[in-house]
């Protein structure tokens, strides 16, 4: 299979995968408390369907999608809803957000699953709504509602290639690798569902060439499945080849247009963990209530992959991995390149959590003193999106956000390649993250001021109209007074008065 190469990237980034890959996936126990932030996907927060005191079963929908870009949430075990209130969420802000807490009863009672092993009988629209109802979002980390990606009907587009993203390029993370090693057959079943749904001509399951044993497992599963449309591809291990746009470029040579989505060039790309969730939802009838998470780093005694109920506090995961070591320094959700630090281990894992990295001091990104930029240009040659990081850096640092936007700041995928190669140790991605979020606020303020201007002008127009109406009314009254009284009205009044004088008795009577 012919492969292409995207710009830059880091071919020799230390992988740190072996720490967590040698042990099979272990099922984490049901914790005493499960916590579900209502917003754990891109889009609108879900709306709670339960109230405090309600008894829920595993697989029961506890919050429903709100609007198109949203996803429902399901309980991962049976128990009683104990709170619906703000709880710390896994987010770099350290904010709390509305969450549903469930006190589990340990019985783990389940709603009877109703699978559709005969998925070929279902229409694409039925399958999309099934996947939407199962609360499936992108499990690679972005948490974009999968049903929207798959919805072919409402848009006029043709998908010819389905890409299954098993390229787990970020160091330390190995949950997709373990999933493919152990459950490749189920993933391939899921691929069949998606191929049927999308009507795509081919599906390519891509993994990096640093895990040959996994590739063998996939090939066996592909051969057993005997669907000629599905193929497996091994791609060079270059960070960030698992980025959606980078993977598409590697496999097809096509670039997703700036600001566009893969569907614009006839491609849908889905993480393999998500495909497994689709298989579970469609064929086995189980909504998304658990996922595989890598718990790793020098700060944890037994790094490994766990199958975890979504909503489980991180402390439970650490316990399963035999606790913290003395080196534990920082708790990071995600990998060392793109992850973010967490406040404490009472924060629950959400659908998007693929890795808990308990980093030791030297594993966490070292905060070396930043030196001035020397304009060496290494960042530009490392940027997988072919941006100009140093130019973006100047604009971001000097708050010239519009200029930064013009040179495509918003296309930055925050992979951190520029950070790694920068000889001056400038925290470039940190600058870009700041600039992107500040730009978002600026756009919001612009929107608010436009609304205020409209309302102000509407009010001015209304007041002017009212004033004009009043003036018109009084003018009409004055005009009426001027014209009429001259003759008829005065005459009439005089004749009335005369009549009164002549017949005073009438008036008195």
């Amino acid at each position: 299979m012919k492969l292409w190469r995207f710009n830059g990237g880091l071919p020799s980034l230390a992988e740190h995968k072996n720490e967590s890959t040698h042990l099979p996936i272990e099922t984490a126990p049901v914790p005493s408390q499960l916590v579900y932030p209502l917003r754990q996907h891109i889009g609108n927060a879900a709306t709670a369907l339960v109230k405090v005191g309600d008894y829920v079963l595993r697989g029961q929908k506890i919050a429903d999608a709100q609007g198109l870009i949203s996803a429902p949430i399901h309980a991962a075990s049976s128990g009683t809803v104990s709170h619906i209130a703000d709880h710390l969420i896994p987010h770099p802000s350290g904010f709390s957000a509305p969450s549903i807490s469930i006190t589990t009863d340990g019985l783990d009672k389940e709603l009877p699953p109703s699978g559709q092993p005969d998925f070929r009988q279902l229409s694409a629209a039925d399958l999309v709504s099934l996947i939407r109802e199962a609360g499936i979002v992108g499990l690679g980390g972005a948490a974009f509602p999968t049903a929207i990606k798959l919805d072919n009907q409402s848009k006029s587009r043709r998908i010819d290639t389905l890409i299954l993203n098993g390229a787990e390029c970020e160091p330390y993370i190995s949950c997709d690798d373990r999933l493919l090693k152990e459950r490749a057959d189920k993933v391939i079943e899921g691929v069949n569902v998606l191929l049927h749904l999308l009507g795509a001509k081919r599906a390519i399951l891509a993994i990096e060439d640093n895990v040959p044993s996994t590739f063998k497992a996939i090939q066996t599963a592909v051969n057993q499945n005997n669907n000629p449309a599905i193929s497996a591809a091994q791609i060079p291990t270059i960070y960030p080849t698992g980025g959606e746009k980078q993977l598409i470029q590697t496999l097809t040579g096509k670039e997703v247009p700036s600001g566009g989505i893969p569907a614009d060039i006839g491609i849908v790309s889905i993480n393999v963990g998500t495909v497994y969730a689709v298989q579970q939802a469609v064929i086995e009838g189980k909504p998304l209530t658990s996922r595989i998470i890598t718990v790793t780093g020098e700060g944890v005694t037994t790094p490994r992959n766990l199958e975890v109920r979504i909503g489980t506090p991180i402390s439970t995961l650490i316990d399963v991995c035999n606790g913290y070591t003395q080196d534990a320094d920082r708790l990071i959700m995600g990998g060392p390149m793109m992850g973010f630090a967490l406040m404490n281990d009472q924060i629950p894992v959400v659908k998007a959590s693929n890795c808990i990295l308990v980093a030791s001091k030297h594993e966490a990104v070292t905060e070396k003193q930043a030196m001035p930029c020397i304009r060496c240009g290494l960042c530009a040659s490392a940027c997988p999106v072919s941006l100009l990081p140093q130019q973006l850096y100047w604009f971001s640092r000097s708050e010239q956000l519009e200029k930064a936007e013009k040179i495509n700041l918003l296309d930055c995928i925050e992979c951190g390649c520029c950070d790694v190669v920068c000889p001056s140790h400038i925290p470039l991605v940190q600058h870009f993250r700041y600039a992107k979020s500040a730009l978002k606020v600026q756009h919001h303020e612009k929107h608010l001021s436009n609304v205020a201007r409209e309302r102000f002008e509407a009010r001015e127009a209304r007041l002017a109209q009212e004033k004009a109406d009043r003036a018109e009314k009084s003018r009409a009254k004055k005009a009426a007074l001027k014209e009429k009284p001259a003759k008829e009205t005065i005459d009439a009044a005089i004749s009335r008065a005369k009549a009164k004088k002549q017949n005073p008795s009438e008036g008195e009577g």
Partner: protein
Amino acid sequence: MSFLILIVLFAGLGIVLGYAAIRFKVEGDPIVDQIDKLLPQTQCGQCSFPGCRPYAQAIANGEADINQCPPGGEAGIAALADLLGVEAKPLNADNGEETPKLVAVIDENTCIGCKLCIQACPVDAILGAPKQMHTVIAAECTGCELCLPPCPVECITMEPVVKTLALWTWEKPENAAQKETS
């Protein structure tokens, strides 16, 4: 002969120019629109003009300076200076200070339903009826504080806008910036 040619030529050009003047007539005063776009649209009147648009008009006419808008702050002054090609200057203290954005909140237990604040609000962001409780549409409130003075029972307070997750910003890496400027 050449005299005649010139007359014809000039007449022809005159017709073309006359037509173009009508055909491509610019509606409104674009510079006022451009200035108005840069103003924060708080409509607070701190600039001593009754709203952002009148202030924009005054700047365009040269009747007002560019440093009279406290809600726009330093950034707003810089943007105006950039647009008009003049030197930026610090905010005129007579007009007020740059403060974080606020939103008006009506204490619904104290409100007597007098409608005075509704009449004062420049963006129609207060809802209510005579002798009925009033309330602020928070999303439309510009924080101009014009509703505070007319209220006879002082039931309106200005509260800071709650930072939502959607508008949260990453911290700017200051240490690098400080180091390089020092």
